[in-house]
Amino acid sequence: MNTAAARLEDDASAEISDMLRRSVQDFGALHPGVARTRRHRDLEPGYDATIWRAMAQAGWTGIAIPETSGGLDLGLAEICIVAEELAADLAPEPFGPATVAALAIARGDNATLRERLLPQIVSGDIIPALAWQEGSNTIDALAPSVRLAPISKGGLTLSGTKRFVPAAAGATGFAVTAETADGPSIVWVARDAAGLSMRGDLCIDGSWLQTVVFDGVELTSGDVIASPTATGPLLTRLVDEAAVIGAAELLGVIRAAFDRTHSYLGQRAQFGRPIGGFQVLQHRLVDLWMQRELVRALLDEAIEACVGDDAEKRARAASAVKAKASAAALANGRQSIQLHGAIGYADEHDIGLYLKRAIVKSAWMGGAPVHRRRLARFYGYSGQE
């Protein structure tokens, strides 16, 4: 492609990005996420099902799904825009986790199942959840202990326990990673399958993480989303992309908390002047702003790294942005409270909601220590004597 054509293409995609960003912001202005976070917190499923429908109407539930199945067929960059803006609005709906689950299904090698599930995911009739995790503090999805075993010709049985599945109480089905004799695979299990039970743990932002138990759930080979050959590469890529989506959500939270704190420092007066006039607070705010910019730069690079096929480059960039974003979101959340004074510790002020969301989201797809551990290996600091 010559440079002029490339520039045109860049401009066009920038325009799509801007439009998408604005449409999510407009949606938030119409349906403020903060109010929903308050209304639905501590209650299952933790979000508003009618708003999920509205998001489906806007096309976001099918953002990464091929057009042939009714989706928008957009890439990671656009997913991150929606994720960031919804998080900035503090929308409690599980856009990030459900999109990751949709990606798992869309990239599986079972065409029949794809054709059945994807249009319903796009329409909002199915809200999928990806159940891959079994222990805390890990991003290793390739060695599940949940087992998928044959019981008869074409018949399979699924046993084991998944943990920390976000937004699962409202999910209509699960993409479950499971070990088979031929390696890990992914299967689809409907929420109401016999032998499936759930127990929720309430998180500080009012959302839930579910423990999902599969006690001999009977399935067929038609329920296998991804065979062992497809699953390895699929999950390796997906974990990195999910970490990047998580970072985009954290950037949204950081941005919104920063904006609120910035404007509060301009309004709140003590000692006869706005507190934003005190140099120490100015420096604090500059530090927060720098963190935000650093996350943004890493995010842009991570999105780009995910486009190509260089697995190490992708993993490095994904861990870099998630490690940075998780740590920055936590620090930013607490500092925002400090700069607000006592009102920041009052539930009726919104700033505390951002801290709480930051706490929960910073752990999703691995917190800073998890990703730093992986980075240490890439940087050559660990795993060698």
């Binding site: 500080i204 000692f271 607070l281 740590a327 607490r334 706490i359 691995g366």
Partner: protein, 389 residues
């Protein structure tokens, strides 16, 4: 518990270890087991049996002189007292009057005021709240505007207080009010006591980030407060209130909360097998070292106070270091916990539970109240380091 009688002994005569043993025995006998290490502030009803037990033994006001119903403890013994209560995991008492009002009344109150109010505090019969902060007067407390105007034998009080801890449960409020607008701010403030049942006083509870209605707004709409409830001279409230801040700064710098949080972090580390992670062990060691340094500094100031030295503004360093260490420890807990770190309730492991989020949220406001850490640093920069500005 009914058998507890007022303890007539002078506890200062005991050796420190003996005093600790006495406290522990009393705590085991009288503190309700189910209220130990609670992950919230106990309600008045819950803490009442403990409040009463302390009161009957004459142990509710550790640092007041014995003639006023206190234990008359030296500063060293006083800190041991709080240390042991903390180690036992006792819930927070409604203690604003014990810490702040009692000493102020003893110093500045009339005989009639002492006789009327001190017994009610020392016997735990009357619960007090502290009405200093206002919506427009936080760090800049001297700009407070709640006004008290003399009218016959009463002050007529109009205005609003905010962040008043315990106000929904309090019988009385001690407060700073503006009595003179014609003089510099600090010179027009008085110290007033008001019955919360006074017509014209209303309370609106405010929920904190933990979901507890710990503090409140208190509105004064022409509330009539008898002028005998003025403590000290009119317009001298600021000086009186300020004169008591030294004690508060040393207690706010206690290593107790950080020490407890570090224990929880260690427990979490064992439960998650994190001591095998060299990077984590290094961070944990750093936090422990920071605690050791805090404890050493705390002992140093306690030593000075025990020798009768007046503590200077430098004691603020304890509050800054202690409260920020508490935050760093609890931030590490959240990160180490990963997904579990965001659980709203205490995290259940096979052998133990760790209240990660409770510790984390508890650590959030101490850098704000008691003079925010920014204000403390301003004080240290000017009054200790003599920097210009």
């Amino acid at each position: 518990m009914e058998a507890i009688a007022r303890d007539p002994r002078d506890m200062n005569a005991l050796r420190d270890e003996e005093f600790r043993a006495e406290l522990r025995a009393f705590l085991h006998a009288a503190y309700p087991e189910h209220l130990r290490y609670l992950d919230r502030r106990p309600t008045i009803a819950e803490i009442r049996p403990w409040l009463d037990a302390l009161a009957r033994k004459g142990w509710l006001a550790p640092h007041w002189p014995r003639e006023h119903g206190g234990m008359g403890l030296s500063i060293g013994k006083y800190l041991i007292y709080y240390d042991e209560l903390g180690r036992h995991g006792t819930g927070r008492l409604p203690d604003h009057a014990i810490h702040l009002l009692g000493p102020l009344l003893i110093r500045y109150g009339t005989d009639a005021q002492k006789a009327r109010f001190l017994p009610g505090i020392a016997e735990g019969r009357e619960i007090w709240c502290q009405g200093y902060s206002e919506p427009g007067a936080g760090s800049d407390l001297a700009s407070l505007r709640t006004e008290a105007v003399l009218n016959g034998d009463d002050f007529v009080v109009t205005g609003q207080k905010i962040w008043t801890s315990m106000a929904p449960h309090a019988d009385w409020i001690f407060m700073l009010v503006r009595t003179n607008k014609a003089v510099p701010q600090q010179a027009g403030i008085s110290f007033l006591l008001a019955d919360m049942k006074t017509p014209g006083i209303t309370v609106r509870p405010i929920m904190n980030l933990k979901g507890e209605s710990e503090f409140a707004e208190v509105f004064f709409d022409g509330a009539r407060v008898p002028c005998e409830n003025l403590v000290g001279e009119i317009d001298k409230g600021w000086t009186m209130a300020k004169s008591l801040l030294g004690d508060e700064r040393i207690t706010l710098g206690s290593p107790r909360q950080s020490a407890y949080a570090l224990e929880r972090l260690e427990l979490l580390a064992r439960e998650t097998a994190s001591l095998a992670d060299a990077a984590f062990v290094d961070r944990l060691t750093q936090l422990r070292l920071d605690l050791v340094a805090l404890e050493a500094s705390f002992r140093r100031y306690v030593g000075m106070a025990e020798k009768g030295q007046r503590l200077g503004p430098d004691v603020s360093m304890l509050k800054v270091w202690a409260t920020e260490l508490f935050q760093r420890i609890t931030a590490e807990m959240v990160e180490l916990g990963g997904e579990l770190g965001g659980f709203k309730r205490a995290v259940q492991f096979e052998a133990s539970t760790v209240d990660v989020m409770n510790q984390y949220l508890e650590a959030t406001p101490p850098t704000i109240y008691g003079g925010s850490n920014e204000i403390q640093r301003n004080i240290l920069a000017k009054a200790v380091l003599g920097l210009p500005g």
